[in-house]
């Protein structure tokens, strides 16, 4: 399932069946057919081509969001979890405060400060998702920092950087992957939410969220217009969820 999404988004970089921005008055609101498998929209654009492009956009943004928040989460979580002390206490208060805040709202605030642009969407969501990674990484580092093999590595005189990133980090990856997939899920949902509200990626670039918000006005005359991007989001999220469930099951077997 996830494979199809990945394939579609890669192919969309080179080729879409029709141009995603080509408008045509004659082709307005054609229901799904062999020529246009998802039908056409209010400007006569091919919905399938637009969905393909939008998957690519949404996929890339979510990927970068997870990358930023996971790396930041590892760095902050590793340091606070391993060393503890005052920094840990301060950072955790901040993390708690941000965690209590709905992530889409936080992203809205950050975007309103930085302005609407694709890079700002990534940055805003990246910041909003960091605390959950910090929490997980920190917990794992606390659990492992006093285990026998780490104590021994310390006795052998290993440097702190070596202990943190070569001895502890590889051991938390199985737990970490599951939360990366969950984060990816939330990133897809949050990105489409933002672009639905008109605060994410701007027109004329197609995003699943903005297509849905356009489609909403034509719900009674062209229901297929809303269904295509909507179901695509569901599909993307479900395949990521299945992947994370598979990963956590694999982890339990080890």
């Amino acid at each position: 399932m996830g494979g199809i999404i990945l394939l579609l988004s890669v192919v969309s970089i080179f080729w879409t069946p029709y141009s995603p921005t080509q408008m045509s008055a004659a082709l307005r609101f054609k229901p799904p057919s062999f020529a246009h498998i998802f039908g056409t929209d209010n400007f006569g654009r091919d919905i399938f081509s637009r969905v393909m492009k939008a998957i690519g956009t949404s996929f890339l943004i979510s990927l970068f969001v997870v990358l930023i928040s996971a790396v930041a989460g590892i760095l902050i979580g590793a340091v606070t979890g391993y060393f503890g002390g005052v920094i840990d206490a301060v950072v955790m208060r901040v993390v708690d405060a941000i965690n209590g805040f709905p992530s889409i709202l936080l992203a809205l605030v950050i975007i309103s400060i930085l302005g609407k642009a694709r890079a700002n969407v990534v940055l805003a969501l990246g910041i909003a998702f960091t605390p959950s990674f910090v929490r997980i990484v920190r917990g794992e580092f606390i659990r492992l920092r006093d285990s026998d093999y780490i104590v021994r590595a310390r006795l052998m005189g290993a440097r702190k950087r070596r202990i943190l990133f070569l001895h502890i980090l590889p051991n938390i990856f199985s737990t970490f992957w599951v939360s990366v997939m969950i984060g990816f899920n939330n990133a897809i949902l949050a990105e489409s939410g933002l672009s639905y509200l008109g605060i994410g990626v701007q027109a004329p670039d197609a995003t699943l969220g903005s297509m849905l918000s356009d489609a909403q006005g034509y719900l009674s005359s062209a229901p297929w217009y809303a269904l295509a991007p909507g179901l695509t989001i569901v599909w993307m999220v479900l395949s990521a969820a299945m992947l994370s469930e598979g990963l956590s099951r694999k982890k339990k077997n080890i």
Partner: protein
Amino acid sequence: MAYIVKKTATLIITLFLVSVLAFLAFQIIPGDVVTSILGTEATPEREEALREELGLDKPPVQRYIKWAGGVLRGDLGVSYRYSKNMNEMMPVSELIGDKLPVTLLLALFAMILTILFAIPIGVLWAGTKNKFLDGALNVLTQTSMAIPAFFLGILVTYLFGIVLKMFTPGSYVSYKKDVGAFVSYMIFPAIAIAIPKIGMTARFLRNSTLTELRSDYVRTAKSKGCEDKTILFKHVLRNAMLPVVTFIGMIIAETVAGSIVVEQVFSLPGIGRLLISSISTRDFPVVEILIMYITMVVIVVYFIVDIIYRELDPRIRVE
């Protein structure tokens, strides 16, 4: 009692920190507010006058004290965008006034629906030995969590509004005019928000019930000859519900966020739409106050959940 005092102190400190952050965050923004209100054609004297009127000529700390003092006294400042008439600027409090109850009621309705459905479903799911029902609930809840709130809103509009004609999309009636019509319209956005939360909560309750079912006291009860039903309802559920209380507290924050998006779908005149439009027009006094309000609701809910949790679980109270 000492616990509640301590909690209240934390609550006040957190609110203070949030207010400082909400205020300062909007001070570092590039671009001059005065130019954006008056346009680039305005005379320097006119700009100076407006800057003084808005208090923008003073340093940030002084402005924060003035702003926070005003908020505590109920003076929420004025909007940069909306005006009452030609000479008077629109106070933020008037702008928010009747919009806040709409959002809070929506979140409340969604919460009630969630609790009403999630708990029976979760218990039924944990108790069932039927493989088919187990699988069906698994797929259903998983799918419900994958649907974004706004798409769910569109689906609800299509199904109940256009196909079944149970309501007319966009025909919102204010609660001040007709409470019945208000509730019967609000029920649909509430459904859209509640469905994923029902899925999540039911899954969570099922898992915590299954964990409890494996514990020693269940075996003891069974060996004494207790019926399965009695064990589930009298012994297990009391314990399994505890983590669920915390969980529900957590999803209240998400429900409030969900209402912001869903308001847009159903064109409800709540604070969510005001927030979105204020962000787009860079009307920062309104954004600051709205953030304060939303955070306050979320923090207060957490506060209440913590206290309920303590009341429910005597084990925490002892230490």
